[in-house]
Amino acid sequence: MTFFPYVVAGWLFVIGLWGVVSSTDLVRTVLSLTVVQSSTYVVLLAIGYRSAGKAPIVADIPAASKLVDPVVQVLVLTDIVIEATVTALLLALVVQAHKRFGSVDPARLRALRH
């Protein structure tokens, strides 16, 4: 049971990749990529967790209490905001591809390139 977070993270990674591979619409590809990214957040936070640890905010608890690891939280926190803008960039590319080639189907895009 203590292995369960890693199972969920691995499952999310693979199922997100399946979404990327099997999509017929480029927007769906980009949105499935979000699921892949979130699996890394789950892994990082699961690594940093200490049993019976508290959140690393010492405003109202004594500073010597048992706290979870703050470093992985920093990584995940900035990552979430940055990946939103990268998703925006990918969606801008999808919009432009649709304008140029008239379709958001990845298979048809390949055909229209010739």
């Binding site: 199922i15 927007v27 499935s32």
Partner: protein, 87 residues
């Protein structure tokens, strides 16, 4: 591992699978909103309030505006193309 963490992990796993398998792009955008909520609950249960705040703000507000605007633009372009072809 507490019961709440277990429930949150199950919710994330189930809704994540649903995001991938739901049929259209517009419905997937809505499922992503629910997925963000499930992830926020999970991050709270892992004692990470900063991360939970970041996730709820981005997935509830930052991403949906962008995704819905992109979907709308693709649909208008498609209508314009169809009308142009029908002439």
């Amino acid at each position: 591992m507490t019961a709440l963490q277990l429930v949150a992990l199950l919710a994330v796993g189930v809704i994540g699978t649903a995001v991938v398998f739901v049929p259209e792009a517009l419905r997937q955008a809505f499922m992503l909103g629910f997925y963000g909520l499930a992830l926020t609950l999970l991050f709270f249960c892992f004692q990470a309030p900063d991360v939970a705040l970041s996730e709820i703000v981005v997935s509830g507000l930052g991403l949906p505006v962008i995704v819905l605007a992109a979907l709308r633009k693709i649909r208008t372009q498609e209508h314009a193309r169809e009308d142009g072809d029908a002439e």
